[in-house]
């Protein structure tokens, strides 16, 4: 009851404040209260965009710095430093005109040279950027990363201070999306040189050109503050005066804080989400990440398609997402996540879905299982199930284990939940039977997923191989790259092949349940790449 009343009141106030803001007259009356208290579940490891690898770093970089574009709602491109973009007819050359009123927090102007410097620094093997692979496609990037060419040969040139020219090796249909990802942001050479090894290790060892400036971050503490950047070119549209971030690793703690009003947002554990499923403040952040079973096809039992299909058919995914996870995660339709890309109003996930690949049919499963065992000439099978040691991963393994053991006679599942990096290492070395892992898109394009399972991809730990699949993916990057429909069809076909053969068994598309106070408006969340953009956020009241 109470919640309802407040919620209504909230909307009214929100509407009126939107009105006021729209008029562009008064924002000072709300300015004093424009402080957001945000929960983080992990520390901020670095502010060096070349070496960042984690969500928190990228999110923070996205709000304190700015590249050519910003990613707005639904991954729409919004203006950043680039005021004008020209693409050559063959799509291999981009010319950006930069705004002249963007400034670093050390007083220097943001120029095209900063981009050149930043990109070269990232692809330089010496920097050992773990995200440099995203540069693949930009002229000479791959060769530079492999140490075959000099850094200066990278396909980026500054023509004067405010004109930037980028040349590509191959067409990148998603190139503009990439520009919203912090790895492609500019870096101030003076700052990098001046701070040396301390660059990006504390808020004072970093310069900013985005809507906010990072403060109170010592490099290892559990709280920091984003303060409105008074030098930001679009500062009049930035409404928040500060965002206080607080790391709480226990969702129990963060929920307690949220309830007591110390936080305006908290992420929820699956159990909390289940209990709060009726709350008006519950916001489910749908991720662009899919979790799936990956079979180790260097082992003969998993080379058997019947075994793989039987295992897939036995899992009741609906029950899993609703009853076990209960955090808004949905049954995966395929590999690429829903909402990632659309063509003519059709979502890629729908277009490329294979119903039987994610269905439950236990009778069929038992038949296939028996058949598979016969083909293998065994009566029982020990299955090593590997996954992370997060709560969700533990729930997943427990559920999958129970589904397999209950329904497939002769199956004996042993589970190991290990830390993320250990899991990665074991995946890479092939020390697993089935691994439950997930992949999140770096940018909003199916290729971000489908690339994983080409036979030569280093991340194809299960070593699933399909020549036609490889060909289709290759075609989408080369011959069909320019033709949107053809490229689309290639990718749809490829995913169907993958699913029909159960190269992987998709489980669910991840969502994160969060609680957000209803007074918080205008939070932009994107599933792929960087998640949060607070530029337009404000507190209604």
């Amino acid at each position: 009851m109470k919640i309802n009343k407040f919620a209504k009141l909230g909307t009214v106030v929100a509407l009126s404040s939107v009105f006021l803001v729209a008029c562009g007259s008064k924002s000072s009356s709300t300015a004093s209260k424009q402080v957001l208290n945000w929960n983080e579940s992990a520390e901020l490891p670095t502010m060096d965009l070349s070496t960042a690898t984690d969500v928190v770093s990228f999110d923070t970089l996205n709000n304190t710095n700015e590249g050519l574009y910003r990613l707005g709602k639904d991954s729409k491109i919004e203006p950043g430093i680039a005021t004008k973009t020209q693409v050559s007819n063959d799509g291999m050359k981009y010319t950006f005109t930069l705004r002249k009123n963007s400034k670093w927090s050390n007083g220097q102007k943001v120029t095209a040279k900063d981009f050149v410097y930043s990109w070269q620094r990232t692809v330089n093997p010496k920097t050992s950027s773990q995200y440099a692979y995203l540069f693949s496609g930009i002229a000479n990037a791959d060769d530079i990363m492999n140490g075959k060419k000099a850094v200066s040969t990278l396909g980026i040139k500054a023509e004067g201070n405010y004109k930037l020219v980028v040349t590509l090796d191959k067409k990148l249909p998603y190139f503009k999306l990439l520009m919203g990802f912090p790895v492609f942001f500019p870096q101030n050479e003076k700052a990098v040189k001046e701070y040396g090894s301390k660059y990006g290790t504390a808020s004072k060892y970093m310069v900013y050109n985005g809507p906010f400036e990072l403060t109170k971050w010592t490099g290892s503490n559990l709280s920091w503050t984003l303060k409105k950047n008074s030098d930001y070119w679009d500062k009049k549209n930035v409404k928040l005066s500060a965002i206080n971030f607080k790391v709480n690793k226990s969702t129990t703690t963060s929920y307690n804080l949220y309830q007591s009003g110390k936080l305006d947002e908290t992420n929820l554990s699956a159990e909390q989400a289940k209990q709060l499923s009726n709350s008006k403040q519950l916001v489910t952040r749908k991720g662009a990440s899919t979790f799936y079973l990956q079979y180790n096809q260097t082992k003969k039992e998993y080379q058997n398609a019947n075994i793989r299909k039987a295992i897939s058919l036995v899992i009741d995914r609906k029950q899993f997402v609703n009853k076990v996870l209960g955090d808004g995660s949905t049954v995966a339709k395929g590999l690429a996540s829903t909402g990632l890309a659309k063509l003519n109003g059709t979502d890629f996930a729908d277009a490329a879905s294979v119903k039987s690949a994610v269905a439950t049919n236990r009778a069929e499963a038992k038949k296939l299982w028996a058949k598979g065992l016969k083909e293998l000439g065994v009566t029982s099978l020990d299955i090593q199930l590997l996954s992370d040691d997060t709560d969700k991963a533990k729930d997943s393994t427990a559920f999958v284990q129970s589904q397999i053991e209950e329904n497939l006679s002769g199956a004996k599942v042993s589970v190991s939940n290990v830390p993320f990096k250990t899991r990665l290492a074991r995946s890479v070395s092939g020390d697993f039977g089935i691994v439950i892992s997930g992949w999140g898109a770096d940018f909003s394009d199916p290729i971000s997923f489908l690339d994983l399972f080409t036979s030569d991809n280093s991340q194809n730990n299960g070593k699933w191989k399909n020549t036609e699949y490889d060909k289709l993916i290759e075609a989408s990057k080369t011959t069909d790259a320019a033709n949107t429909t053809k490229r689309w069809n290639d990718l749809v076909k490829a995913q169907k092949i993958l699913l029909n053969d159960q190269g992987i068994s998709p489980l669910y598309q991840q969502a994160t349940a969060t609680l957000v106070k209803s007074k918080v408006k205008g939070v932009i969340y994107n599933a792929a790449g960087v998640n949060y953009n607070f530029k337009d956020t404000y507190i209604a009241k």
């Binding site: 554990s269 699956a270 129970s402 589970v415 939940n417």
Partner: protein
Amino acid sequence: MEEKIKLNPDSFEALPKAEELDNEKIAAPSLTFVQDAWRRLKMNKGAFISLWIIVLMLIVAFGSSFFIDHDSLVKSAPNYANLPAKIPGVPINGFNGKLKVAGEWVDEYKQNNISSDKYFVLGTDYLGRSLAERIIYGTKVSLIVALVATFFDLTIGVAYGIISGWKGGRVDNVMQRIIEIISSVPSLVIVVLMLLVLKPGMTSIIAAIAISSWTTMARMIRAETLQLKSQEYVLAARSLGESAPKIAWKHLVPNLSSIIIIQTMYTIPTAIFFEAFLSFIGIGISAPETSLGVLLNDGQKNFQFLPYQMWYPAIVLCVLMIAFNLLGDGLRDAFDPKTRR
């Protein structure tokens, strides 16, 4: 002096010898050391009750092996997920299938359309598995971890202590340095490091706890052995040419037994705590096996909504720890000759 007492003429006859001897018997029953300890333990109500609680828990936990096996652990029934306790014929809120949701008692069984003849005595967990079953199984696992780890602690610690104390001199010096080094790293850190290297699981936890926790036992045994070594009966045995292992077994171990028993009683709750702690920080027992620590960890995540999921395992864990601690105290008092009256 006036005599108010009647004196018989034969009163002053000398006493026959037999009667004399009769008077020499000692009125209080003579008790052996163990009997005396047992009597004293029985006098200590807390310790005695604890003993029975532990026995009961052992019986329930290990007796359950016939009913609760791997299959019932693995089996999930998400339809029944997160139901509160419902005991037939108990109309008390909290035990009748009702749960306090936003300040009001709601019948979760009804809400989830569960047939009215379905009962979960302690409710269910997030996968719809009976919490009672899991707690019993978890208790068993916790006890196994504790008992096996304690067994190693005991054998390593006692043997090490006796050897170190018996040999003395340089051997003792070196052995004590080794103990010093081991105990200069917090044992929990050792356990954590061991678990990182070993594959997670019960065996690793037992091994890790066993490796790190025997030093206290070894120290105490050594100190006592040093004292016993110079006792006459040990010297006598030595001078009669008995072999060292024989002396250790026949003379030292029996005399060390009270220390060993008491120390064991304290090691067990420590091991239980270690296991719970490891599971709590997420490197303990892995699914589908469960333990009190795992249940506690699962429960605390949801404490605001389903407090019973933490309370029940917490109560069982605390009762277990209290029982072992009280029994340990009781045994210490019972065996300690200083408090013998």
